[in-house]
């Protein structure tokens, strides 16, 4: 399924929606939209082979956790299309990118804009940290570092079943601090799982700030190659470069694309907060109003109308 919009337009739309949401709610995962807009737009709009959504445009309310007493339970993966042999599967490994992923679902026509208004509301399935039942999610990835392992298992199983569809993981670079990420890469390489690929947002930021201050991880590309992955690197904001990197052949090995991004791409005003970018909460009404005006101008959208207090 292909959307009518260009991938550039989808990326612009993601930034605008996350910006609007963040200003209106006085907080949000704004920097993740800056770094990942092109990546998620690229995945949904062109890189992945996804069927039409099987879920309602307006997300249903939270309908319970999986249990023997809840036979109608389903995940939010239907927003990515049906489960069948030919279509791809996507895990959003850093579930903190949920706001950005939801914005992307709206931009590619898989979710209604009303879905974002349910974000982080009590009783809603559109949760702040993407849960299994949240739109576009299939597994819980809120504890970082478990997504690639799960995807490797799914990919091994799909290969055994003869599926042609691939498994893709959208990852964050902070996850390389978790030992499990390395266990997953070595296992995927050992078992030759090459229907698996990952797109990693290398924004070099994490909750506490810049990764180099929190925990130095060194040369990720070399480390991943040493663990057995095929690695391609590109500028995360250059769609042609993303396309080329994702097309890298990787027979017998998983592919990991390191998309080097800027955590303030498209919203340079955010640099005034550096390195506190993980979750943007405005310190004052003054800062909120200033960011509203400055970022809106950068994005080429009107400022968000704010209620006066």
């Amino acid at each position: 399924m292909r959307n009518e919009k260009s991938t550039e337009e989808v990326a612009r739309g993601i930034r605008a929606r996350v910006f609007e949401h963040t200003i209106r709610n006085n907080g949000g995962y704004l920097s993740q939209a800056c770094s990942a807009a092109e990546q998620l737009a690229f995945l949904y709009n062109e890189a992945l082979n996804l069927g039409p959504s099987t879920m309602p445009m307006v997300p249903p309310p939270f309908s319970g956790v999986p249990s023997a007493a809840n036979p109608l339970y389903r995940t939010g993966a239907g927003y990515n299309g049906p489960f069948d042999a030919v279509h791809d599967r996507l895990f959003i490994a850093p579930a903190h990118y949920a706001l950005v992923a939801y914005a992307c679902l709206i931009e590619v026509g898989r979710m209604a804009p009303e879905g974002l208004e349910m974000f982080n509301r009590d009783g809603s399935s559109v949760e702040m940290i993407g849960a299994e039942h949240s739109p576009g999610m299939e597994v819980h990835n809120g504890t970082l570092g478990i997504g690639l392992s799960t995807a490797a298992g799914l990919a091994w199983g799909r290969r055994r079943l003869g599926h042609t569809g691939r498994v893709c993981v959208f990852m964050s670079d902070g996850e390389v601090q978790e030992g499990q990420t390395w266990e997953a890469v070595q296992a995927a390489a050992h078992h030759g799982i090459d229907n698996l690929w990952a797109l990693m947002d290398v924004n070099r930021q994490q909750c506490d700030g810049a990764m180099d201050d929190v925990m130095t991880v060194g040369d990720i590309a070399t480390k991943l190659r040493d663990f057995g992955a095929v690695v391609a690197e590109c500028d995360a904001h250059d769609l042609a470069a993303l396309r080329a990197a994702a097309a890298t052949p990787h027979p017998g090995r998983p592919l990991i694309v390191l998309a080097h991004s800027r955590p303030t791409q498209g919203m340079e005003s955010l640099m005034s907060r550096f390195p506190r970018l993980h979750y943007v909460r405005f310190k004052s009404e003054e800062e909120r109003a200033r960011m509203n005006a400055e970022i809106a101008a950068e994005l080429g959208v009107p400022p968000v109308p704010l209620e006066t207090h």
Binding site: V65, P66, S67, A68, T75, E132, E138, V139, H140, N141, G142, T143, I146, S149, T150, A151, A152, G153, L154, A155, W156, G157, R158, R160, L161, G179, Q180, E183, A184, Q186, A187, H190, H191
Partner: protein
């Protein structure tokens, strides 16, 4: 008493070859978990995931998502203590049909603290969606494989390996506890290797005039509280639980909860590890040292009845079937 050599190995192979969606996963303890023969004969159904349990559990969750039913083989402690987050997020929460085969439960290993799964029942039974089973003899080890594989969700099994005595002639059925004796003085509740201890104690207690009601549990979750309460109500002096596990959070706690919720006042003695870690040693030594053997059970029953039985170690030895332990190999790694 008949001793059966490596009952798990044969039972798993027989089941797996009939079910191509069953996969055999190992984390570098393949021969220690008796699946080396399976690996050699059925390499296409075997996945080596190395010494990396966190990945193995999430990977298994992914296999479950693809429709497979992976059997994870390791020492029980390695299946939950380090990869607890993965156990919850990748297996328990989404109800993947992952079968966690935990070898060397409790003090059946001389490996000491790092190798002894002494809080596994406690951890596993508090997880929503988890089923918890424990094999107590060769027949239960043989039947637990197919029975666990019927569970619509994840299941954790405490498995006995090596030479295992055959106590029962009917297979393990989930939810069906075994009533091994129907006495009226004291209720004894056991599971796993402690059932054999209680059988030995009963032999001596009968001669001393103590009438024991003995239940063997193989299904720890779901826990049949109603039946426990009924049995407890039918004895005169009280209840003793004897488990190869910490008394906190295990069978002792389950029975206490059942009695309290039913409002049934019965004295309860909980035998097992008493809020302590164990150390490395042989199984008989550890069971004696930590008060988990037949003699400890006799002394607990004496406390409940208020009467000395006159039973000592020699009397218990007299009911012991020597072949049981002389045939058992040392529990090496």
């Amino acid at each position: 008493m008949e001793m059966v050599n490596r009952p798990y190995a044969a039972a798993f192979e027989a089941h797996a070859v009939q079910h191509p969606e069953v996969l055999c996963l190992s984390a570098d303890l393949t021969s220690s978990c008796e699946i080396d023969g399976f690996r050699d004969r059925h390499p296409e159904q075997f996945l080596s995931l190395g010494m990396a349990e966190q990945n193995m559990l999430s990977f298994a969750g992914g296999l479950g998502l693809a429709g497979f039913r992976p059997f994870l083989h390791s020492f029980g402690v390695f299946l939950y203590r380090r990869p607890y987050d993965q156990l919850v997020a990748s297996i328990a929460y989404p109800r993947r049909k992952v079968r966690l085969m935990g070898f060397l439960p409790g003090v059946t290993t001389p490996g000491g603290m790092t190798h002894q799964a002494i809080e596994d029942i406690s951890v596993m039974r508090t997880l929503p969606n988890m089923t918890v089973l424990e094999a107590g003899d060769a027949t239960e080890v043989e039947s637990i494989v197919a029975e666990a594989d019927t569970v619509d969700g994840p299941v954790y099994c405490r498995i006995l390996r090596g030479a295992v005595p055959r106590l029962f002639d009917t297979p393990l059925r989930i939810g069906q506890m075994r009533v091994l004796a129907e006495g009226c003085d004291v209720l004894v509740v056991t599971a796993g290797i402690t059932t054999e201890e209680a059988i030995r104690a009963r032999g001596a207690l009968a001669g001393a005039g103590v009438s024991v009601r003995h239940l063997h549990l193989n299904t720890l979750k779901p826990f049949d509280a109603a039946q426990i309460v009924d049995h407890a109500a039918s004895v005169r002096h009280g209840v003793v639980t004897l488990e190869n596990h910490l008394v906190n959070g295990g069978i002792g706690s389950m029975v206490a909860e059942a009695l309290a919720e039913a409002g049934l006042a019965r004295r309860l003695v909980r035998l097992g590890l008493q809020d302590t870690y164990a150390h490395g040693g042989s199984r008989p030594y550890l069971m004696r040292h930590y008060g988990m053997d037949a003699l400890a059970l006799v002394r607990a029953i004496e406390r409940l009845t208020g009467q000395s039985t006159g039973i000592d170690e020699g009397a218990l030895d007299a009911v012991r079937v020597e072949a049981v332990h002389s045939a058992v190999k040392a529990e090496a790694l």
